[in-house]
């Protein structure tokens, strides 16, 4: 439920002590552009995880997906990022994997606690795939 709490457009001075924040922000946040039902956070996450989990995803789809996801006003959940990183692995693209980590760090903006949380959640995947974080590579 990170996303609901971290509406970046209303960030203000909200401090993130732990990921399990008292989420006062509204839950569903996908807008009904054509009068449909609001998509819940879980559905949104599931949709994106499915997108990146496509077995024969190609490079264009990865780029398009990532650029679109970064365009949203939210920081993606760790499970979406994990699927994206695995997609990078299938495409033999380490550089993009590191770039994705940089991008979500930038996406969190002034909320400094989000990125360490994401890395913590992604640590098993990072170790398994051998992806180094930008900090480990000295690129920050």
């Amino acid at each position: 439920m990170f996303r609901a709490a971290v509406r970046l457009s209303v960030s203000g001075a909200r401090s993130l002590t732990r990921p399990q924040l008292g989420l006062t922000a509204p839950l569903a946040q996908r807008c009904y552009a054509h009068g449909g039902k609001l998509e819940s956070d879980e559905e949104f996450d599931a949709r994106w995880v499915t997108y990146f989990n496509k077995a024969d995803i190609d490079a264009w789809e990865l780029r398009k997906g990532m650029n679109t996801l970064i365009g949203y006003d939210l920081v993606p959940e760790p499970k979406i990022l994990e699927a994206a990183l695995r997609a990078c692995r299938r495409l033999n693209d380490l550089a993009s994997a590191i770039r994705i980590l940089e991008a979500v760090k930038d996406k969190s903006g002034p909320h400094k606690k989000i990125y360490p949380y994401l890395i913590q959640e992604l640590r098993p995947t990072l170790d398994e795939l051998g992806i180094s974080t930008p900090e480990e590579l000295g690129m920050d």
């Binding site: 780029r63 692995r89 380490l94 993009s96 770039r99 690129m139």
Partner: protein
């Protein structure tokens, strides 16, 4: 006179930023860096921070999306950055000076983490062997190799994209220079252009004028004459 001065200063200041950028950009262009006319800037607002040109890595040209105010300077900058400004090899780019805009382009943007093409297209043999190694487990790659793979694909890292530029100093400095020039113009104007002051501004005349106003009891209740103490012949 002060009103006209402030007016001139405000007018000059309001057009300074755009003009200064245009001025600096076109002056750089005119230094012979681009002999072809700049291509039209078709893309809405690419981040043009990818100057890998060491000699003219002027911070003035770090135009990010939010700061481009002048279309002409944008075009000039596109021309500059595209015209042979890259030192890394770009095989599918032209030998001529202009960018082929029908091909996918690379740009560093914070909101577009994965651009349309990698930074380095033409890979020499070491790069190719590194790319082969990338197909295996990434745990086998050393730190330097990982960094090299990143640099093959991307030009600037995110912190490099976000580095502050020194452009503001140029802009503020230019503004003050223009203020100064305008001030000189205004001063010259006041000395050489304005006619002599009317005789009614003189000390003696003003004193007589005030006395007459008091005698006429101008605004005796709340205004002018109300401030004058007629008994003691002085201002209250």
């Amino acid at each position: 006179m002060f009103y006209s001065a402030t007016l001139i200063l405000v007018q000059s200041a309001s057009s300074i930023t755009c003009f200064l950028r245009l001025f600096t950009c076109t002056s750089l262009v005119s230094l012979g860096l681009n002999s072809h006319p700049p291509p039209p800037c078709l893309y809405p607002s690419p981040s043009l921070t990818r100057l890998s040109w060491s000699t003219l890595r002027t911070t003035m040209l770090h135009l990010t999306t939010g700061r481009v105010g002048c279309l002409l300077s944008k075009q000039a900058v596109v021309a500059l950055t595209s015209s042979g400004a890259r030192m890394s090899s770009h095989g599918h780019h032209e030998v001529s000076d202009s960018v082929d805009m029908s091909q996918p382009m690379y740009w560093d943007r914070l909101d577009t983490p994965l651009p349309d093409r990698p930074w380095k297209d033409v890979l020499d043999s070491t790069d190719k062997s590194l790319k082969q190694k990338e197909k295996g487990p990434w745990t086998a790659l050393s730190k330097e190799e990982k960094i090299a793979l990143y640099r093959l694909k991307f030009n600037h890292t995110y912190p490099e994209m976000k580095r502050p530029s020194h452009e503001w100093k140029t802009v503020i400095g230019g503004m003050f220079i223009f203020f100064g020039i305008t001030g000189l113009v205004v001063f010259w104007q006041g000395h050489y252009v304005y006619p002599p002051q009317p005789h009614t501004f003189g000390e003696e005349w003003q004193a007589k004028q005030i006395q007459r106003m008091l005698d006429m009891r101008i605004n005796p209740i709340e205004g002018f004459s109300a401030q004058w103490d007629y008994k003691n012949k002085q201002w209250k």
